[in-house]
Amino acid sequence: MKRKALRAAFPYTLPICVGFLFLGLSYGFLMRSQGFSFVYPLLMSLFIFAGSMEFVTVELLLSAFAPLHAFLLALMVNARHLFYGLSMLQKYKNTGWKKFYLIFGMCDESFSINCTVAPPEGVDRGWFMFFVTLLNHIYWVTGATAGALLGYVIHFDTTGIEFVMTALFVVMFLNQWEEAKDHRPALVGLGCSLACLLLFGSSGFIVPAMALIILSFLLTRKTFAQEVKAP
């Protein structure tokens, strides 16, 4: 059962593998170039496992000691996980002990696969989602650690490599657009976020954007709920 689930999960994680190795390499490489031992990216990628926040944490570690500020900033940057959790309440149900790890490892990419992909017939859903999460976790830790280790020996121009994250989400957006019959939820997300970015600036737009998205959906619920079918 486990092997079958692993075999079914692996192909879906392949694009993430390349993305995470790329991004992880540049993250580990960055940390090493700032003078950190490879132990830092190893443990941070293992326990934080939220890529964008790990990049932010590099900056935090280089400035003055302010743990409360770090805590609040991480809450803001990662508040989108609250969305993910709400979306996965039903899907993570009845997965036993694996549920703890599924929630612990719920990064953007694992969420997007587990949320949109139904495991093939005869494959256990819990184990499928477990392996999606575990494989992505392994790719990320491997990339980050390898990047730091490479930083000890080679030097190359990685300027712009962080765009791999943007490219990943743009392609995910396009794939979802193709699958969905109703494009309004996607447009609401894009529109509210853009409006709040221009209104509140880059450091403070995430929370208002989320609030505006939730509010828009709740206000239009009656018309949406009848037309939008559950995926």
Partner: protein
């Protein structure tokens, strides 16, 4: 590095704690057996589509306010859209877009 090892460990722990709080909170509020209200279930079906849009904007949040106002990002994204519409290959679109972006920012948009 300005921090001591103990200080940097505490900083990382603070980030870990906050990250885990955002991941576990919905499951703690609505444990198994307890049915979330209809509004919450409804949000669960529409939010995933909106969140990816939010993440795209999140990735571009700083680009908009730089000297080039996100022009290299826009070029790379248009390239990704064209490539993805043409080939429908996720891996190829991500790699192609990233390589084009790296060429752009390393040579033309410095």
């Amino acid at each position: 590095m300005t921090m001591t090892v103990a200080q940097s460990v505490l900083t990382v722990l603070a980030v870990v704690a906050a990250t885990m709080l955002t991941r576990f909170l919905p499951f703690l509020i609505f444990p198994e057996g307890k049915t979330p209200p209809a509004a919450v279930t409804y949000l669960g079906t529409v939010l995933p589509y909106a969140v990816i849009g939010l993440l795209v904007v999140y990735c571009l949040k700083d680009a908009v306010f730089t000297a080039w106002h996100g022009l290299p990002e826009l070029i790379a994204i248009l390239f990704i859209v064209a490539l993805h519409t043409w080939k429908k290959n996720t891996l190829l679109s991500i790699a192609g877009g990233t390589i084009l972006y790296m060429i752009l920012v390393q040579n033309f948009f410095r």
